[in-house]
């Protein structure tokens, strides 16, 4: 299991480094069109061929990886912070407020996730600049995906508050911010970190679903989701298996997140 985890972490590291170095490793900019070479096959110049607009697929994959792999953790950070705040408020406020907060959490949990996301997404303009569309998509995922984590944080905070060491800390005169900063937060850190890591693959998959449906990242900016939209036009007769490169990378990366997390739990 340790070996599987090590392999997963190494793979994730490699993918991250290559996406960071996208501007160095990529043969061309993600939006550059080789107008004489649309829909080209694999070659030295274009390792994964070009798409129907003549853009180098390998370059788009590297830049797309950067977008998905960096913004999913940002969304996970937003949702974890929101979960910590909301879970914390529920525990430290009075019973009525706690019930109200938990009811809102239940409401969010019972609303079907994708229905809620596309409803809010439809509220925002669809014809925005590509960079804005990326920020909107991931901010939306982060701000709507806190409910499950908030329940876990709330339960754990309550457990910690009732624990012996907190009682001892209170008896020793620790109160308010000091109690929170010195005793509660360090013990809550593993739960928050676990929620953060669990959210990353969820947000990567959600962005992919949204972008394939045309409600996520806008062209010409690539993301794993927008790259996979290309499969809509895939024909078994054309026999271009390299079009599946982005799918393989996505599945491998998300699997590595799962392997790394499972090993952590074990």
């Amino acid at each position: 299991m340790k070996r599987a985890r090590l392999l997963a972490v190494v793979f994730l590291g490699l993918v991250t480094v290559s996406s960071v170095l996208a501007s160095v490793l990529a043969p061309a900019h993600y939006s550059h069109q080789f107008r004489d070479d649309p829909d080209a096959a694999c070659s030295w110049h274009h390792p994964l061929g070009t798409d129907d607009l003549g853009r180098d697929r390998f370059s788009r994959l590297l830049y797309g990886t950067r977008v998905s792999l960096f913004l999913a953790p940002a969304a996970a950070l937003i949702s974890t912070i929101l979960a910590a705040l909301i879970g914390g408020i529920a525990v430290f406020s009075n019973k009525w407020a706690e019930q109200a907060v938990m009811s809102v959490t239940d409401l969010f949990l019972s609303l079907p996730w994708l229905f809620l996301v596309i409803t809010i997404r439809a509220l925002l303009p669809l014809n925005v600049a590509p960079l804005t569309s990326v920020i909107i998509t991931f901010a939306l995922l982060g701000s709507l995906g806190w409910a499950g984590a908030a329940r876990v944080v709330c339960a754990d905070t309550r457990r910690l508050c009732e624990s012996d060491f907190m009682l001892h800390a209170r008896a020793s005169g620790f109160t308010g911010f000091r109690l929170l900063w010195r005793h509660l937060l360090p013990n809550l850190r593993p739960v928050l970190l676990a929620q953060f890591w669990i959210s990353i693959p969820v947000f990567i998959l959600s962005e992919t679903n949204l972008s394939i449906l045309g409600l996520g990242v806008a062209e010409p900016l690539p993301s794993w989701g927008s790259l996979l939209r290309e499969l809509e036009g895939f024909s078994l007769l054309s026999a271009r298996p390299w079009q599946f490169a982005s799918l393989i990378l996505l599945v491998a990366t998300v699997s590595c997140f799962h392997v790394a997390m499972q090993s952590e739990e074990a």
Binding site: W113, F115, T119, A122, T208, I212, L213, L231
Partner: protein
């Protein structure tokens, strides 16, 4: 009885709150009360003003809620600008298709997930364990929209994508639960007394897992409806998932909010039923 009343009250409250939030979204959305015909360059200023007057909502936000609630209580769910049809008619036409897909996906997903979980626990083989685990991880790590695209390419029915998203969750949860129950002292004691493996499994391990599995059943209903959106949109199936996608692209918020409320109600009812059944099973 009191649990039933509590569940019904909770569902009703959540639907009212969701409706209230949905109506707020529609009312505060940019472009609310603006007619698309206003963009027609052939219209003169008076015509544009007449159109604006016809579409403008003169009341306060509370009178808007009241009107929406009254309309809904009379069974009028409004008119979809994007689809040019009454919302009620659209839902009546498309909901059965989604129910069929969700029902098929849930049945198949649960059958595969539970079978694999039982196989993984009872076979006691590393190869089976790794094989089933890999299959579940692969399904869990592939987006539903990609599975739907692959179904289109393979000319397979899109409904199996719903099953493919349900089974890994059922498998993982079911397997962990059965393994935990198999290690309980009374199960170990039954083994020590020489009872048959299948008898122990059916009489002692499975009944203990039933309440928790029923709770998961409620959750999987929500997942199935969520998966219906990419499946119906990409496999061209005329259900409410496809309708929601079209409404999102056309920014038909009124239709989207009603669809979300309906699906939320179905999910809540499923969750509450699963909870009640789970409690009943636990009492036994």
């Amino acid at each position: 009885m009191s649990t039933l009343v509590k569940c019904a009250a909770r569902t009703l409250l959540v639907v009212i709150i969701a409706g209230f939030l949905g109506a707020t979204l529609v009312r505060l959305a940019p472009g609310y009360g603006v007619a698309e015909e206003e963009l027609d360059a052939r219209l003169n200023a008076d015509s544009v003003q007449a159109l604006r007057d016809a579409h403008r909502d003169r009341g306060t936000i509370f009178s808007f809620y009241l009107r929406v609630a009254q309309r809904m209580l009379h069974g009028d769910l409004g008119f979809s600008d994007a689809m040019q049809e009454p919302v009620r008619q659209l839902i009546a036409e498309r909901f059965p298709e989604t129910l069929k897909s969700v029902g098929f996906g849930l049945s198949l997903g649960w059958a595969i997930g539970l079978s694999l979980a039982i196989l993984s626990v009872t076979a006691r083989s590393a190869a089976v364990d790794v094989g089933t685990g890999l299959l579940a991880t692969l399904a869990l790590c592939t987006p539903a929209a990609v599975l739907a695209l692959l179904c289109v390419l393979a000319q397979a029915p899109g409904r199996i994508v719903i099953a493919a998203t349900i089974f890994p969750k059922v498998f993982q949860y079911g397997r962990n639960l059965l393994l935990k129950n198999a290690a309980l002292p009374h199960v170990l004691s039954a083994h020590a007394r020489g009872l048959g493996r299948s008898r122990i499994f059916l009489r002692h391990t499975v009944p203990l897992a039933a309440p928790q599995l029923l709770a998961v059943a409620g959750v999987t209903v929500g997942i199935a409806f969520t998966t219906a959106i990419p499946v119906e949109a990409l496999c061209d199936m005329p259900g409410i998932g496809q309708l929601a996608w079209k409404a999102a692209l056309a920014r038909d918020l009124e239709l989207l909010v009603i669809l979300t409320m309906i699906v939320a109600t179905v999910t809540l009812v499923a969750n509450s039923t699963a909870e009640l059944l789970g409690k009943a099973a636990a009492h036994r």
